[in-house]
Symmetry: C2
Subunit: 176 residues, 2 copies
Amino acid sequence: MVRIAVDMDEVIADFTAKLLSIYNKKYGTSYTEKDLVGKNLRDVHPEHAEYIRKVIQQSDYFADLPLMKGAREALEKLSEKHEIFITTAAMDFPTSFNAKYAWLRENFPFISDRNYVFCGDKSIISADYLIDDHLRHLKKFKGQGILFTAYHNINDSYEMRMDSWEEIYNYFESNY
Amino acid sequence: MVRIAVDMDEVIADFTAKLLSIYNKKYGTSYTEKDLVGKNLRDVHPEHAEYIRKVIQQSDYFADLPLMKGAREALEKLSEKHEIFITTAAMDFPTSFNAKYAWLRENFPFISDRNYVFCGDKSIISADYLIDDHLRHLKKFKGQGILFTAYHNINDSYEMRMDSWEEIYNYFESNY
Protein backbone atom coordinates (compact mmCIF):
# COMPACT_ATOMS: atom_id res chain seq x y z
CA MET A 1 0.00 0.00 0.00
CA VAL A 2 1.22 3.45 -0.88
CA ARG A 3 -0.24 6.86 -0.18
CA ILE A 4 -1.22 8.77 -3.32
CA ALA A 5 -2.03 12.48 -3.10
CA VAL A 6 -4.15 13.69 -5.99
CA ASP A 7 -4.68 17.28 -7.12
CA MET A 8 -8.19 18.41 -8.12
CA ASP A 9 -8.25 20.95 -10.93
CA GLU A 10 -7.18 19.56 -14.31
CA VAL A 11 -6.48 16.19 -12.70
CA ILE A 12 -9.86 14.94 -11.51
CA ALA A 13 -11.98 18.07 -12.22
CA ASP A 14 -12.12 19.66 -15.66
CA PHE A 15 -11.54 23.23 -14.61
CA THR A 16 -10.57 24.48 -18.09
CA ALA A 17 -13.46 22.94 -20.02
CA LYS A 18 -15.92 24.98 -17.95
CA LEU A 19 -13.87 28.17 -18.16
CA LEU A 20 -13.59 27.96 -21.95
CA SER A 21 -17.29 27.31 -22.30
CA ILE A 22 -18.15 30.42 -20.24
CA TYR A 23 -15.53 32.53 -22.02
CA ASN A 24 -16.60 31.44 -25.50
CA LYS A 25 -20.22 32.25 -24.75
CA LYS A 26 -19.31 35.72 -23.46
CA TYR A 27 -16.90 36.71 -26.26
CA GLY A 28 -18.28 34.68 -29.16
CA THR A 29 -14.99 32.80 -29.51
CA SER A 30 -14.48 29.08 -30.01
CA TYR A 31 -11.38 28.21 -28.01
CA THR A 32 -10.69 24.62 -27.13
CA GLU A 33 -8.07 23.26 -24.74
CA LYS A 34 -5.80 22.63 -27.72
CA ASP A 35 -5.46 26.41 -28.12
CA LEU A 36 -3.82 26.56 -24.71
CA VAL A 37 -0.58 24.73 -25.37
CA GLY A 38 1.94 25.87 -22.79
CA LYS A 39 -0.29 28.63 -21.44
CA ASN A 40 -3.48 29.65 -19.70
CA LEU A 41 -6.46 31.55 -21.11
CA ARG A 42 -5.37 34.67 -19.24
CA ASP A 43 -2.03 34.56 -21.07
CA VAL A 44 -3.89 34.54 -24.40
CA HIS A 45 -6.20 37.36 -23.32
CA PRO A 46 -4.46 39.40 -20.63
CA GLU A 47 -6.98 42.17 -21.30
CA HIS A 48 -9.67 39.83 -19.90
CA ALA A 49 -7.65 38.60 -16.93
CA GLU A 50 -9.92 40.49 -14.54
CA TYR A 51 -13.05 38.94 -16.08
CA ILE A 52 -11.51 35.47 -15.96
CA ARG A 53 -10.55 35.97 -12.32
CA LYS A 54 -14.11 37.01 -11.47
CA VAL A 55 -15.58 33.94 -13.17
CA ILE A 56 -13.29 31.59 -11.26
CA GLN A 57 -13.88 33.35 -7.96
CA GLN A 58 -17.63 32.88 -8.08
CA SER A 59 -18.41 30.73 -5.09
CA ASP A 60 -20.18 28.11 -7.20
CA TYR A 61 -17.65 27.91 -10.03
CA PHE A 62 -16.29 24.63 -8.69
CA ALA A 63 -19.72 23.18 -7.91
CA ASP A 64 -20.42 21.52 -11.25
CA LEU A 65 -17.06 20.95 -12.94
CA PRO A 66 -17.07 17.96 -15.27
CA LEU A 67 -15.02 14.95 -14.22
CA MET A 68 -11.73 14.26 -15.97
CA LYS A 69 -12.01 11.14 -18.10
CA GLY A 70 -11.44 7.93 -16.15
CA ALA A 71 -10.61 9.67 -12.87
CA ARG A 72 -13.47 8.26 -10.83
CA GLU A 73 -13.09 4.71 -12.09
CA ALA A 74 -9.32 4.65 -11.60
CA LEU A 75 -9.45 6.17 -8.11
CA GLU A 76 -12.23 3.86 -7.03
CA LYS A 77 -10.11 0.86 -7.94
CA LEU A 78 -6.87 2.33 -6.59
CA SER A 79 -8.57 3.16 -3.29
CA GLU A 80 -9.16 -0.53 -2.64
CA LYS A 81 -5.41 -1.08 -2.31
CA HIS A 82 -3.95 2.33 -1.61
CA GLU A 83 -4.51 5.39 0.54
CA ILE A 84 -5.92 8.22 -1.59
CA PHE A 85 -5.79 11.86 -0.45
CA ILE A 86 -7.20 14.78 -2.43
CA THR A 87 -4.80 17.69 -2.06
CA THR A 88 -5.99 20.90 -3.65
CA ALA A 89 -4.51 24.37 -3.62
CA ALA A 90 -7.82 25.75 -2.41
CA MET A 91 -6.22 28.82 -0.83
CA ASP A 92 -5.84 30.25 -4.35
CA PHE A 93 -9.65 30.51 -4.35
CA PRO A 94 -10.82 31.01 -0.76
CA THR A 95 -14.38 31.37 -2.10
CA SER A 96 -14.23 27.80 -3.37
CA PHE A 97 -14.07 25.75 -0.17
CA ASN A 98 -17.73 24.79 0.10
CA ALA A 99 -18.17 24.03 -3.59
CA LYS A 100 -15.01 21.93 -3.69
CA TYR A 101 -16.10 20.00 -0.62
CA ALA A 102 -19.56 19.32 -2.05
CA TRP A 103 -18.13 18.34 -5.44
CA LEU A 104 -15.80 15.80 -3.85
CA ARG A 105 -18.57 14.31 -1.67
CA GLU A 106 -20.75 13.93 -4.73
CA ASN A 107 -18.23 12.64 -7.24
CA PHE A 108 -15.90 10.60 -5.03
CA PRO A 109 -18.13 9.22 -2.27
CA PHE A 110 -15.66 6.35 -1.72
CA ILE A 111 -12.99 8.77 -0.47
CA SER A 112 -13.51 9.89 3.14
CA ASP A 113 -13.60 13.63 3.73
CA ARG A 114 -10.87 13.04 6.33
CA ASN A 115 -8.64 12.54 3.29
CA TYR A 116 -9.32 15.98 1.78
CA VAL A 117 -6.57 18.56 2.14
CA PHE A 118 -7.24 22.21 1.25
CA CYS A 119 -3.85 23.86 1.23
CA GLY A 120 -1.65 26.39 -0.52
CA ASP A 121 1.93 25.18 -0.45
CA LYS A 122 2.12 21.47 -1.29
CA SER A 123 5.48 21.00 0.42
CA ILE A 124 3.28 20.36 3.49
CA ILE A 125 2.00 17.09 1.96
CA SER A 126 3.42 13.85 3.33
CA ALA A 127 2.71 11.10 0.78
CA ASP A 128 4.51 8.64 -1.46
CA TYR A 129 3.14 10.12 -4.68
CA LEU A 130 1.62 13.41 -5.77
CA ILE A 131 -0.30 13.55 -9.06
CA ASP A 132 -0.50 17.19 -10.14
CA ASP A 133 -0.62 19.26 -13.33
CA HIS A 134 1.65 22.01 -11.94
CA LEU A 135 5.43 21.72 -11.89
CA ARG A 136 5.64 24.31 -9.09
CA HIS A 137 3.75 21.96 -6.77
CA LEU A 138 5.70 18.86 -7.81
CA LYS A 139 9.02 20.63 -7.27
CA LYS A 140 8.18 21.33 -3.64
CA PHE A 141 6.89 17.84 -2.93
CA LYS A 142 9.27 15.46 -1.14
CA GLY A 143 7.89 12.17 -2.51
CA GLN A 144 7.63 10.99 -6.11
CA GLY A 145 5.75 13.43 -8.30
CA ILE A 146 3.70 12.51 -11.36
CA LEU A 147 3.04 15.33 -13.81
CA PHE A 148 -0.47 14.90 -15.17
CA THR A 149 -0.53 16.12 -18.74
CA ALA A 150 -2.57 19.23 -19.49
CA TYR A 151 -2.21 21.50 -22.50
CA HIS A 152 -0.76 24.23 -20.30
CA ASN A 153 2.14 21.98 -19.14
CA ILE A 154 2.83 20.21 -22.40
CA ASN A 155 6.22 21.90 -22.86
CA ASP A 156 7.41 21.31 -19.30
CA SER A 157 9.92 18.56 -18.66
CA TYR A 158 9.59 16.35 -15.64
CA GLU A 159 10.93 12.91 -14.89
CA MET A 160 7.55 11.22 -14.54
CA ARG A 161 4.68 12.34 -16.73
CA MET A 162 1.40 10.54 -17.36
CA ASP A 163 -1.27 11.37 -19.91
CA SER A 164 -4.36 9.62 -18.62
CA TRP A 165 -5.97 7.93 -15.66
CA GLU A 166 -5.64 4.63 -17.51
CA GLU A 167 -1.87 5.09 -17.57
CA ILE A 168 -1.82 5.99 -13.88
CA TYR A 169 -3.93 2.99 -12.93
CA ASN A 170 -1.70 0.65 -14.92
CA TYR A 171 1.43 2.11 -13.34
CA PHE A 172 0.22 1.39 -9.80
CA GLU A 173 -1.17 -1.99 -10.78
CA SER A 174 2.15 -3.13 -12.23
CA ASN A 175 4.30 -1.68 -9.46
CA TYR A 176 2.36 -2.59 -6.30
CA MET B 1 14.86 27.12 10.59
CA VAL B 2 12.30 24.45 11.33
CA ARG B 3 8.77 23.98 10.11
CA ILE B 4 6.17 24.20 12.85
CA ALA B 5 2.60 23.08 12.18
CA VAL B 6 0.09 24.59 14.57
CA ASP B 7 -3.44 23.41 15.28
CA MET B 8 -6.22 26.01 15.60
CA ASP B 9 -8.91 25.06 18.11
CA GLU B 10 -7.73 25.12 21.73
CA VAL B 11 -4.20 26.02 20.58
CA ILE B 12 -4.54 29.45 18.99
CA ALA B 13 -8.35 29.85 19.06
CA ASP B 14 -10.33 29.51 22.28
CA PHE B 15 -13.00 27.15 21.02
CA THR B 16 -14.17 26.03 24.47
CA ALA B 17 -14.49 29.47 26.06
CA LYS B 18 -17.10 30.42 23.46
CA LEU B 19 -18.94 27.10 23.69
CA LEU B 20 -19.22 27.31 27.48
CA SER B 21 -20.46 30.86 27.33
CA ILE B 22 -23.24 29.90 24.86
CA TYR B 23 -24.11 26.77 26.83
CA ASN B 24 -24.19 28.54 30.19
CA LYS B 25 -26.50 31.21 28.80
CA LYS B 26 -28.88 28.61 27.35
CA TYR B 27 -29.03 26.30 30.39
CA GLY B 28 -28.37 28.75 33.24
CA THR B 29 -25.24 26.83 34.25
CA SER B 30 -21.86 28.25 35.16
CA TYR B 31 -19.33 25.82 33.77
CA THR B 32 -15.75 26.89 33.34
CA GLU B 33 -12.97 25.06 31.53
CA LYS B 34 -11.83 23.67 34.87
CA ASP B 35 -14.99 21.57 34.98
CA LEU B 36 -13.83 19.77 31.85
CA VAL B 37 -10.82 17.90 33.20
CA GLY B 38 -10.23 14.92 30.93
CA LYS B 39 -13.44 15.40 29.00
CA ASN B 40 -15.57 17.51 26.69
CA LEU B 41 -18.83 19.28 27.44
CA ARG B 42 -20.75 16.65 25.47
CA ASP B 43 -19.34 13.96 27.81
CA VAL B 44 -20.73 15.88 30.79
CA HIS B 45 -24.11 16.40 29.12
CA PRO B 46 -24.61 13.65 26.55
CA GLU B 47 -28.32 14.55 26.55
CA HIS B 48 -27.34 17.89 24.99
CA ALA B 49 -24.85 16.48 22.49
CA GLU B 50 -27.18 17.32 19.61
CA TYR B 51 -27.58 20.93 20.79
CA ILE B 52 -23.81 21.29 21.22
CA ARG B 53 -23.23 19.87 17.75
CA LYS B 54 -25.66 22.38 16.28
CA VAL B 55 -23.98 25.30 17.99
CA ILE B 56 -20.56 24.30 16.70
CA GLN B 57 -21.86 23.66 13.21
CA GLN B 58 -23.23 27.15 12.77
CA SER B 59 -21.25 28.59 9.90
CA ASP B 60 -20.16 31.61 11.93
CA TYR B 61 -19.23 29.76 15.13
CA PHE B 62 -15.53 30.05 14.33
CA ALA B 63 -15.76 33.66 13.16
CA ASP B 64 -15.17 35.38 16.48
CA LEU B 65 -13.36 32.92 18.71
CA PRO B 66 -11.13 34.60 21.29
CA LEU B 67 -7.37 34.18 20.84
CA MET B 68 -5.51 31.84 23.14
CA LYS B 69 -3.27 33.80 25.48
CA GLY B 70 0.09 34.67 23.97
CA ALA B 71 -0.53 32.81 20.70
CA ARG B 72 -0.33 35.79 18.37
CA GLU B 73 2.74 37.31 19.98
CA ALA B 74 4.63 34.01 20.11
CA LEU B 75 3.81 33.06 16.52
CA GLU B 76 4.67 36.51 15.23
CA LYS B 77 8.15 36.22 16.74
CA LEU B 78 8.59 32.55 15.78
CA SER B 79 7.58 33.32 12.19
CA GLU B 80 10.62 35.56 11.81
CA LYS B 81 12.92 32.55 12.12
CA HIS B 82 10.73 29.55 11.35
CA GLU B 83 8.15 28.35 8.86
CA ILE B 84 4.70 28.39 10.47
CA PHE B 85 1.78 26.40 9.03
CA ILE B 86 -1.72 26.39 10.49
CA THR B 87 -3.06 22.84 10.23
CA THR B 88 -6.64 22.47 11.32
CA ALA B 89 -8.97 19.48 11.21
CA ALA B 90 -11.54 21.58 9.37
CA MET B 91 -13.20 18.53 7.77
CA ASP B 92 -14.80 17.86 11.18
CA PHE B 93 -16.83 21.03 10.54
CA PRO B 94 -17.26 21.48 6.80
CA THR B 95 -19.45 24.51 7.51
CA SER B 96 -16.48 26.23 9.12
CA PHE B 97 -14.12 26.80 6.18
CA ASN B 98 -14.97 30.41 5.43
CA ALA B 99 -15.11 31.52 9.07
CA LYS B 100 -11.80 29.81 9.85
CA TYR B 101 -10.15 31.41 6.83
CA ALA B 102 -11.42 34.89 7.77
CA TRP B 103 -10.43 34.43 11.41
CA LEU B 104 -6.88 33.49 10.44
CA ARG B 105 -6.55 36.42 8.01
CA GLU B 106 -7.72 38.79 10.71
CA ASN B 107 -5.80 37.46 13.69
CA PHE B 108 -2.59 36.21 12.07
CA PRO B 109 -2.01 38.58 9.13
CA PHE B 110 1.73 37.78 9.24
CA ILE B 111 1.08 34.16 8.21
CA SER B 112 0.44 33.73 4.48
CA ASP B 113 -2.77 31.94 3.54
CA ARG B 114 -0.57 29.63 1.46
CA ASN B 115 0.43 28.20 4.84
CA TYR B 116 -3.09 27.25 5.91
CA VAL B 117 -4.00 23.58 5.75
CA PHE B 118 -7.62 22.47 6.17
CA CYS B 119 -7.46 18.73 6.57
CA GLY B 120 -8.89 15.74 8.40
CA ASP B 121 -6.15 13.21 9.01
CA LYS B 122 -2.95 14.93 10.22
CA SER B 123 -0.70 12.07 9.10
CA ILE B 124 -0.70 13.99 5.80
CA ILE B 125 1.29 16.85 7.40
CA SER B 126 4.99 17.09 6.57
CA ALA B 127 6.63 19.28 9.23
CA ASP B 128 9.28 19.11 11.94
CA TYR B 129 6.84 19.88 14.76
CA LEU B 130 3.10 19.69 15.29
CA ILE B 131 1.57 21.59 18.21
CA ASP B 132 -1.87 20.10 18.91
CA ASP B 133 -4.22 19.49 21.82
CA HIS B 134 -5.34 16.06 20.56
CA LEU B 135 -3.28 12.91 21.12
CA ARG B 136 -5.01 11.20 18.18
CA HIS B 137 -3.49 13.77 15.81
CA LEU B 138 -0.04 13.69 17.42
CA LYS B 139 0.07 9.91 17.26
CA LYS B 140 -0.36 9.94 13.49
CA PHE B 141 2.18 12.70 12.91
CA LYS B 142 5.65 11.64 11.73
CA GLY B 143 7.63 14.56 13.17
CA GLN B 144 7.97 15.69 16.79
CA GLY B 145 4.64 16.35 18.42
CA ILE B 146 3.98 18.85 21.19
CA LEU B 147 0.84 18.28 23.24
CA PHE B 148 -0.64 21.66 24.07
CA THR B 149 -2.30 21.44 27.45
CA ALA B 150 -6.07 21.78 27.59
CA TYR B 151 -8.35 20.62 30.39
CA HIS B 152 -9.68 17.82 28.19
CA ASN B 153 -6.20 16.30 27.71
CA ILE B 154 -4.83 16.87 31.20
CA ASN B 155 -4.78 13.15 32.03
CA ASP B 156 -3.15 12.08 28.76
CA SER B 157 0.52 11.18 28.78
CA TYR B 158 2.76 12.27 25.96
CA GLU B 159 6.50 12.71 25.77
CA MET B 160 6.42 16.43 25.04
CA ARG B 161 3.76 18.58 26.65
CA MET B 162 3.68 22.36 26.93
CA ASP B 163 1.30 24.51 28.93
CA SER B 164 1.56 27.92 27.34
CA TRP B 165 2.75 29.88 24.32
CA GLU B 166 5.46 31.38 26.49
CA GLU B 167 6.84 27.90 27.12
CA ILE B 168 6.64 27.06 23.40
CA TYR B 169 8.40 30.26 22.42
CA ASN B 170 11.17 29.65 24.94
CA TYR B 171 11.64 26.09 23.74
CA PHE B 172 12.24 27.14 20.14
CA GLU B 173 14.37 30.10 21.20
CA SER B 174 16.70 27.89 23.26
CA ASN B 175 16.89 25.06 20.75
CA TYR B 176 17.27 26.91 17.41
